[in-house]
Subunit: 308 residues, 2 copies
Amino acid sequence: MSLRISIVGSGAIGTYYGAKLAHGGSDVHFLMRGDLTEVRREGILVRGEGENFRVSNVNCYNFTNEIGPCDLVIVSIKTTSNGDLVDLIPPLLHERTMVLTLQNGLGNEEFLASHFGADRVLGGLCFIAVERHSKPEVERYAYGQLILGEFGRPSLPRTREVAAEFTRANVRCTVTEDLALERWRKLIWNVPFNGLSIVAGEIDTAAIINDENLRHLTLALMSEVIAAANKCGHSLPSDAWRKHIERTESMSGYKPSTLSDWAAGRTLETEAIWGEPVRRAAAAGAQMPRTEMIYLLLKELDERRRSR
Amino acid sequence: MSLRISIVGSGAIGTYYGAKLAHGGSDVHFLMRGDLTEVRREGILVRGEGENFRVSNVNCYNFTNEIGPCDLVIVSIKTTSNGDLVDLIPPLLHERTMVLTLQNGLGNEEFLASHFGADRVLGGLCFIAVERHSKPEVERYAYGQLILGEFGRPSLPRTREVAAEFTRANVRCTVTEDLALERWRKLIWNVPFNGLSIVAGEIDTAAIINDENLRHLTLALMSEVIAAANKCGHSLPSDAWRKHIERTESMSGYKPSTLSDWAAGRTLETEAIWGEPVRRAAAAGAQMPRTEMIYLLLKELDERRRSR
């Protein structure tokens, strides 16, 4: 009944959910590319409202062939490193291994499907604010839930099995019958907040939502995403932005992952969060001028920084 | 025949054209709010390709009532200080005084008309790259020409008289029969270049035009301006952007005035260059989503800086 799980990508998201699963009794194996000494000595510390625990005896590895076949591979590396997965994932696969991407934006399920077979692929939406302070420590600021779904098909018994594994680890988790729709619904948040956190001058969610001009722009971007999703065949209600705004207002300000990426000098996830939605919308005949503008600005800012 | 001229606003544009006119023999009086010692001692130095001269014995003043009535008032203060004109201009007026605004963007002729009468008002478009290095020195990097026109009517004999005054001073100057159209035509350049020079991270025209992403965005913004102008009743050809691009490519990179304003800590001309075009387009039923986005971002960046 218990799944052998590997976590590919030990940033904030991978480390947090992996630690939760391990703390809940799951059999978790972390791929951590880098020095393992500290994690082996200190374990992983998880802090946040209502939770404060340390996972000791962390199973961590530098190479996936040291981990070997698993029942569930959780993909949580930055989408900008997706190319690495072509070599990283094969050692983790047996015939029925599920590959679950918890990554941002659009196109990740498709990428995994094209390399490892669509049957294996699941996706998850993480409504969470979490930051990794140092290798062995993550802090959770707020969260809603984890939404899991199958790629291109309704849920299967195994989908609920994976959800149950998370639930047992005290992660609020639900199953969706329409993963693609939920991907777009999450973009309603990521497109404006992740983008404006850089383009409007390195500011957090509170600074965005409390400024009259940026709030106006946020709503315009949200409407653009909703219209594009619907043009792509989904059915998001025109006020689907409301919940996102309300939840963001109820939280204290925090840094979207793109701002953390920027601050840490990491390549930004411009293709997954902005580029791919703009391209899909264009293919369906929908314009996303504001989203495209963020896309082009972020690409340019990122490239310029990299070329310096 | 010779006009008594006052220059209200001694930034780069006002100082440059005022110096040219004075050097050409015109009777020019500069309003300079600030210390006059240096200008009185040093005069004004003008540098640029093919010209290098100093105007000595500059008529400069701290208050317009020291200047008294003129035949031509050239308004070249930042549009963000237009409110000051209500008190600055009356001492300069006699019954037939012309008021010529060389300011950026839309709405300046209307502002002057509402306070001093539409009959007096002319407007000018400065196709020039000029920077003021210190009070008594301006440097010209490139220029095309000065285009003069009457506010809300075809040219009059006096329009050509003013143009002749500039021509005599060796400023290439032409008269337009449709000032409002030329205002929009100039915005085709100002909306993208002045905006992206800040929003894309404090860069000059060459950095904008040589980056694939920003070039794409520049063209999209230019198309937005052309479509808005035409929706507002003008007739700009759909490839009106081409000349702007070609001219900018032929010049070495330089800082749009908005970038100079930003660097100097001055309030940005967000209303004249972006806000007013967006509002006029909206009133005519045209959307300018990218232009509006620059408008909102600049407003926010400027307000945030000011509140620090």
